[in-house]
Symmetry: C2
Subunit: 162 residues, 2 copies
């Protein structure tokens, strides 16, 4: 059975149909690992890979993979667009509108528009999850730990909505 694919240009460049195998560390070969957002102290230990979407994509969505190192956390933030998340590996918790939910592989997480949210790795292995969003979406509002808007907007994603 031939397996002639594994395109190595990756990262939302939309070069045609392909299969990209994941590597042992959980990421995808040849797809760039990017910073999560600008460093602002509200998050730590997060990387992202853009699997589908981006400037070359014909689609209205982006499929991203986020990985949080042990102890890592995403920004606490809110926005009008929805997140559809599926946990692939590791363990941790999701803060959703003030409620904490345990996460394990296979969990589906919906983050509804407007709900403050944060993902945290509470385990000893990387916490990895897929997250689907609209390609055109609003810029997140960063929140303090108690849920108030932060005075900084430096937490905006480096990869801005198009």
């Amino acid at each position: 059975m031939p397996d002639a694919t594994t395109n190595q240009t990756g990262a939302g460049q939309a070069p045609g149909s392909r299969v990209v195998h994941s590597d042992e560390s959980g990421g995808w070969q040849g797809i760039a690992t990017l910073p999560y957002k600008r460093a602002d102290g509200s998050w730590s230990g997060v990387t992202r890979q853009l699997l589908a979407g981006g400037p070359e994509s014909p689609s209205s969505f982006e499929l991203r993979y986020f990985e949080l190192a042990p102890g890592g956390r995403s920004a606490h933030e809110t926005h009008r667009h929805e997140h559809a998340v599926v946990v692939l590996r590791g363990s941790g918790e999701a803060l959703l509108a003030g409620a904490v939910h345990a996460l394990r592989p296979g969990d589906f997480v919906r983050v509804a528009p407007g709900d403050p949210h944060q993902f945290r790795n509470t385990g000893s292995e990387p916490l990895g999850f897929l997250c689907v969003v609209d390609a055109e979406r609003d810029v997140p509002t960063p929140l303090t730990n108690d849920g108030a808007p932060s005075c900084s907007v430096d937490g905006d994603e480096l990869s801005r909505p198009r």
Copy 2:
């Protein structure tokens, strides 16, 4: 750590933020398992679950989970919209524009617009994968095994584009 979620209404009803745990069989508790398409002989052994998207969703995408029983295959078809697929379990192969690619858990598959494609379970366990599509998308054209358009359009998805 409270874990108060697991909304059981599911299936794209977008009732708010939630965590839905997957069950041992690979699906998600409380999210309806639906027929794949109208039976037309071109596919077999396929079920789907709509995790995100649908009439109540504010988003421009749908996140679906497909599961193929051993020996099962999706329809051989083509369309203008893109598929972004991540394999969660099992083994099999993807036919992409006439080339066969082995599939294993963790693989990312892009099906580019216009490329004929089919997913097949060649293993002894269910083959399960996530598939993201635009909410607004064209109707697939079913193909014969040699890639010619089929005279039937009965293979259209039961869940029509909105």
